[in-house]
């Protein structure tokens, strides 16, 4: 339960690309084919271990609908990581990436680590966006890239954890000022760092009590 760091994440992208499903898969390890539209923002949290350190991810899952955009933008601030999600079976969701990216860059801190995610990789037959296109977009804009499936859980864990690793490296390099909480990083209770490795038994999921 005690953590060395807490990272704030945001999940953004068009409506219906599977943002909430990715979160649910990550926090609860389950898939829910029918999901209510997210209103504003929903939350999830989970503990992960990087480099022997317990890190708590506090994830803000935002509404994808255009009409909520002005509200969800307010939540970008103070995020250390962002998952920018599109649907590989819907070309338009890929086309909108530039707008999302501009929005994210404008309303968050410049060091925010952004992971580009092409979701629904299980639906290969309906694929409209090639993996190479995603890779190219990521390379061009300096993002990390991954294709995931919230349904089969493929790469979901990796997407969240690799983002955290990147943030962690940036902390080590001194890019992130961890004392400035506007960077979306909080240091855990003081002595968490020293005995976090032993507290592994408490790790694993720590989602919102399964009540979401």
């Amino acid at each position: 339960m005690a953590y060395a760091y807490l990272f704030k994440y945001i999940i953004i992208g068009d409506t219906g690309v599977g943002k909430s499903c990715l979160l649910l898969q990550f926090t609860d390890k389950r898939f829910q084919p029918v999901h209510d539209l997210t209103i504003g923002v929903e939350f999830g949290a989970r503990m992960i271990t990087i480099d022997g350190k317990q890190i708590k991810l506090q994830i803000w899952d935002t509404a994808g609908q255009e009409s909520f955009r002005s509200i969800t933008r307010s939540y970008y601030r103070g995020a250390a990581g962002a998952l920018l999600v599109y649907d590989i079976t819907r070309r338009d969701t890929f086309n909108h990436l530039t707008t999302w990216l501009e929005d994210a860059r404008q309303h968050s801190n410049s060091n925010m680590v952004i992971m580009l995610i092409g979701n629904k990789s299980d639906l290969e037959s309906r694929r409209e966006v090639k993996k190479e296109e995603g890779e190219a977009f990521a390379r061009e804009h300096g993002l990390i890239f991954m294709e995931t499936s919230a349904k089969t859980a493929s790469n979901v864990e990796e997407a969240f954890i690799n983002t955290a690793k990147e943030i962690y490296e940036k902390i080590q390099e001194g890019v992130f000022d961890i004392n400035n909480e506007a960077n979306g990083i909080k240091i855990g209770p003081q002595h968490a760092a020293t005995n976090s490795t032993m507290g592994g038994s408490q790790g694993g999921q720590q989602a919102g009590g399964g009540c979401c």
């Binding site: 209103i39 504003g40 949290a45 601030r77 801190n109 000022d177 004392n179 909480e181 002595h191």
Partner: protein, 517 residues
């Protein structure tokens, strides 16, 4: 900016220590080091101040706290000022008030004075002196590794924009000192209220409980946001728990703050604070663009919206009889009231939290009733002992249920307000004016707080039944802590309600603009 100060003062402190050790080991000049750190704007020394409650706060810091407040036009400004003026001096009166309530308690309940204080301390999350000294040592080691890095980090300063962000986002202030200072104070003054309240009430409770929430005075201090107060509390609990697990006293203890966070209460609160803060800024900027009649008109309209936020009277004398209330009345009342908001909100999650609480209570009641029966039978025939019921709740279990329920219910209430804020900003309804909505929301707050009060009554009555054979020293602190957390819950809920005011104002402005076009 305070980062740099903190690192330097840390270093000076440490280097001073070292100097003392090497050239002149005789006078361990602790006090001077302390005095220095107390006046500096540093996080660690502030914690030290906290460890020494009898110390008076440095004058300049008090000023810091007061200036922004005097500029506030918040309705509860007066209470805030008293709180901050009291400063650490409050400890004195705090102790006294405990003493008086404690003696009262001793008389009625037969509970030891030290215990009341001990309990009060643990419920307030104030670490014991042993923990504090351990903490201080760890802080020192942590600091030494942190100082070098800080210079490197500063080099990556992110320019002016960061300054803006740091002062506004996620409720984090760039100067942690004021936060910690005022947070400490708010928690304590909040706790003070609660304690006085408990002191008076504990006796009533034993006789026949009625924890009303007459006071609308919340914990909110403009220098520290509510989520900070709660996060701090949670972190302290975390530390406490770890300290406890080391000494392996009791493993199962109910920690309200941690539970509240697990139910995502903190996150929703943070989100609500963001919306509130941004709305506040928008309202201010709109007001600066207006002049003359327009300005007067808008000011008046905003005043209508503000009104319901300043008058909140709790009608706690209203007798809710303790019949098998499964929360349906509450759900119905809440749904009816929410409907009048004319925005699409659902009370499902809050209703579910209420139902969970009801289930816990029913289970415990059933169990305790069967236990009572058993005892009656036991008096007749002693050999019945083996047939213990499958689910046997201890008073600790009951207490854990109570605290969990309160944390869940409060987290869901705050989520309800956060969703309301989003919907208010999202859709501009024509059906109800913002002033009407403000009145409705104040009604919602009352309904919810009444329910918190009811829940705490139900849980404490369960506790008294289950713990009928327990000693007062075991049972009373548990009951006290349920009332304390219930009182805190009500404060958090009321503070969250206050955060809706700027949101409604923006919503009103949006609607006015829309209808003008």
């Amino acid at each position: 900016m305070s980062d740099s100060e903190s690192s330097t003062s840390d270093r000076t402190e440490k280097s001073m220590d070292q100097e003392h050790k090497e050239p002149s080991p005789a006078p361990r000049d602790e006090p001077s080091a302390d005095a220095q750190s107390d006046s500096s704007t540093d996080v660690t020394p502030t914690r030290k101040t906290r460890k020494r409650p009898e110390l008076k706060p440095p004058a300049e810091e008090q000023k810091n706290l007061q200036t922004p407040q005097s500029a506030e036009s918040a309705p509860n400004a007066s209470t805030e000022t008293t709180v901050s003026q009291g400063g650490w001096g409050y400890w004195g009166s705090w102790g006294k008030s405990i003493l008086s309530t404690a003696t009262a308690t001793v008389a009625t309940v037969g509970q030891g004075l030290t215990q009341v204080i001990e309990k009060a301390e643990t419920s307030l999350g104030i670490p014991s002196p042993e923990e504090l000294s351990a903490q201080a040592e760890e802080e020192k080691t942590d600091d030494s590794s942190g100082t070098n890095k800080e210079e490197g980090e500063k080099a990556y300063g992110m320019g002016g924009a960061m300054g803006m962000i740091s002062s506004s986002s996620m409720g984090m202030l760039s100067s942690l000192t004021t936060v910690v200072q005022s947070t400490g104070k708010t928690v304590i003054s909040g706790g003070l209220d609660a304690l006085e309240f408990i002191g008076k009430k504990t006796m009533d409770v034993i006789a026949e409980g009625d924890p009303g929430f007459k006071k609308t005075k919340g914990l909110m201090n403009r220098n520290s946001t509510l989520s900070q107060v709660l996060r701090e509390a949670k972190e302290r609990e975390q530390q406490q728990q770890e300290a406890e697990s080391v000494s392996s006293e009791t493993d199962k203890k109910a920690h309200y703050g941690m539970l509240f966070d697990e139910f995502q209460g903190l996150s929703h609160l943070e989100a609500l604070e963001i919306l509130s803060r941004e709305s506040e800024a928008k309202v201010k900027s709109v007001l600066t663009t207006l002049s003359g009649e327009e300005l007067t008109k808008l000011r008046e309209e905003l005043q209508d919206i503000k009104e319901p936020f300043s008058l909140m009277e709790f009608d706690d004398e209203l007798e809710d009889d303790m019949k098998g209330d499964d929360g349906e009345d509450f759900v119905k009342e809440l749904t009816d009231v929410l409907e009048r908001l004319q925005i699409s909100t659902s009370a499902d999650k809050l209703s579910k939290a209420r139902k969970n609480a009801f289930n816990h209570i029913t289970n415990m009641k059933l169990q305790s009733e069967s236990k009572q029966q058993e005892e009656e039978e036991e008096e007749e025939e002693e050999e019945k002992e083996q047939e213990t019921p499958v689910t046997k709740y201890s008073v600790e279990d009951a207490h854990l249920f109570a605290i969990t329920s309160l944390a869940e219910f409060t987290a869901r209430s705050i989520e309800q307000f956060q969703k309301t804020a989003e919907m208010l900003l999202h859709c501009n309804t024509e059906e109800a004016t913002a002033a009407e909505q403000a009145r409705v929301l104040s009604q919602v707050t009352i309904v919810i707080c009444k329910e918190v009060s009811l829940l705490s009554k139900k849980y404490t009555s369960c506790l008294t039944t289950i713990g009928a054979n327990e000693k007062g020293e075991v049972l009373n602190p548990l009951i006290t802590s349920v009332f304390l957390e219930a009182s805190n819950s009500a404060s958090y809920i009321q503070d969250a309600f206050q955060l809706l005011m700027p949101v409604l104002e923006v919503s009103h402005i949006q609607r006015t603009v829309e209808s003008a076009q």
